[in-house]
Amino acid sequence: MSNGNPSSSGAPPVRRVLEAVTGSLERRYASERRFRLLGRIAVITGLVFVGSLFLSIILTGYTGFKQTYLKVPVTFDQELLDPEGKRDPAALAAADFGALVKRAMQAAFPEVSGRGELRELFGLVSSGAEYQLQDMVEADPSLLGTTRDVWLLASDDIDMVVKGHIDRSVPEAERRVNDRPLAWLDALEKRGAVETRFNWGFFTRGDSREPELAGIGGAVMGSFYTLLVCLVIAFPIGVAAAVYLEEFAPKNRLTDLIEVNINNLAAVPSIVFGLLGLAVLINFFGMPRSAPVVGGLVLALMVLPTIIIAGRASLKSVPPSIREAALGVGASKMQTVFHHVLPLAMPGMMTGMIIGMAHALGETAPLLMIGMVAFVVDVPKGFFDPSTLLPVQVYLWADSPERAFVEKTAAAIIVLLAFLIAMNALAVYLRKRFERRW
């Protein structure tokens, strides 16, 4: 009675504990199920995020690899293009191919007249169509004077209509493409003169303000040169630093300082490296803006910590018996490291290197700081040419207002991701192929 416990109705203590436990079991199991469910929801949410990210990019981007062409009979008028009839390349280069395109379009739709309507008609084809014809004639001057059916590149708006990105049910005033061009397009379609083809030019051309002419060729080359600079600088320095710190460095203040620095640099926001590049490389040393050398240098400094940390890990995994055996037969410390330890650690270092390069390939922020966001039409041919990089190209296109650039952006992202996946797959393969268990 003085116990104070209401449930103590005279039963033995063991029974009471058992009752309490079994009584609470249901509640505890329910909470167990809830917890497990929460965990499952978390994982599934994460997976859904991955899935929706990839899906949204791929669904937006796959049409970017295709481009619409219109078949138009073109009369390569000798009078217009080469009135002197000499087929002189210089004269052909200066000839008015724009007029040729206009005449061909007019001939295809003879009923169209009036300036406004004609401008709309000429708007069906891309402004790049004239260069297309020019290239044809320059390649084969015997075309002059003949009439051929030519597949001309359609303008980006027409391309969007064909791909179904422009809703025809919207009132004309709010639509990007008016009724008349749509009618002409339908007429062409009836003649079987509209086709979408794989857009090879997307991979070879440089940037352009016209979405149908824009390509990632320049950006890919820019990325290539930049990564080459980054590789040439970061790999030797990274390997040397890893070797020194892991094999030779005495335990002292300097070594500690270096290690602290490397670990901290690995966590510094990438944009700060861009500030470093801007202040030191461009403003102090006067290196050129927008050049792959500067980009490569900045990226090299950025990935160096990653490479050093990976390199040290792979040196650490080489067992001491290898070193002792080499030292035992009279090799010097340096010979031991360079002839025996380093070759065995090399696959691991290569893996770290590739992962670092993949990181560098996807990096954008520091490059914005050093002026690699320029609009570059030409494909860069060297380390000092102004150039842009694949991720920066994505950023530039994502900012462009034209509807057609959305799919180009997503297509460029698909290419970028393909490169990254290939690099990571190579790293995984190397690790699997050369990994040794001692």
Binding site: I237, V272, S332, T364
Partner: protein, 462 residues
Amino acid sequence: MSTPLLIAVLLGLAAAAYVFGRRRSVSLASGAGGVRHLHSLPSYYGSYAALWALIPALVVLSVWIAFRSTIVTELVVRQLPPEVQQLGADRLGLVLNDVRNLASGNVVSREVTSELRAAADHLKSLERISAAAMAVVVLSLGILGGGIAWRQISPRLRARNRVEGIVNVLLVTASTIAIFTTIGIVLSVLFESLRFFELVPISHFLFGLDWSPQMALRADQVGSSGAFGAIPLFTGTLMISGIAMLVAVPIGLMSAVYLSEYAERSFRAAAKPVLEVLAGIPTVVYGFFAALTVAPLVRDTGAMLGLQVASESALAAGLVMGIMIIPFVSSLSDDVINAVPQSMRDAAYALGATQSETVRQVILPAALPGIVGSILLAVSRAIGETMIVVMAAGLSAKLTANPLDSVTTVTVQIVTLLVGDQEFDSPKTLAAFALGLVLFVVTLGLNIFALHVVRKYREQYE
């Protein structure tokens, strides 16, 4: 001679030095009775000569290249007429640009005067002299170095020790680059920031509530407030990072717990790499995803609920940033959870605890320091993230607590202030460096604090 060609010739010279050095050592040894009478292997004599041919020449070459343009420009400026030299730095820069364009045969923006022509010719001749002198100096240094080393070669020369000594110096140099990078970062942001704080008081920068970095070109210009109070940027950054952490911490932590404690081996093997894919995706892709998919989704959902959502809302940027950070939280927490010894789990089960009770009352407390550390690292990652916010967050610095409103962040402002052509001395560009300094200090502080937490409170189970 162009620089790549020069480097190629230099490498050829080094190769020749190697061959001759090696040959000399062998021939000297054959006089003394065979290679075993040499102190080192013949290849070390070759390497010794090659290193001597290469290294001094390369050092001179890189110093020359680093200072070439500065010196040449300085000499050209001295030769310009005095009234041009009196111009301000930016005007002078324009003139120099024209001189350079004229010299390289490009389009020039102004009338070509005889002075401009003379300056261009001077620039051209200076550059020619510089290139020629560089080639002569570097190559003769290479030959001289190789020759001296070649002369030194004798059977008693301790070539291996010397080569190893040089290699050791190179290794030390390579590993000190990390220190120099840090020093470079600190100095570059610090110097520009100090110049900024001369123009704008530091208290105004750190505690001001108004950010509008438009500077007046003329004194009477409208809207040239030039206010540099960074508080709205800090709050914007904190809000977006906060939203990101609200997404990333629960999802990341719970999936780490689920994958390491509950999931079957095959599911874990499949799901973990897929989640880690998120860490390898370039941030510009996230930015595009945020702007293309998530921001419209958030806006439409808000409109359905009758809420006013800005098209560049902090919520959208924060959500996507949270997705990006999930793998940081989950894989770091996963490591920490796996480091908790199995015996502790077994003990809890033996006492009758359910699995979730074990996780909540035994494993998570034991792993807490590591988890806190990983969250701190993730926060520092979120604060320094640039591309997502540049593409999905706004530009206007608003002091607001509404996540549906558009806010701007420190990194966005750094990018907008520095992208495009600006003169380098305006408070606008200098402000970017001051923001960079804040960013660097804060992320560094967070990292050091995270490491400290992990070290100090880590339970030792061995």
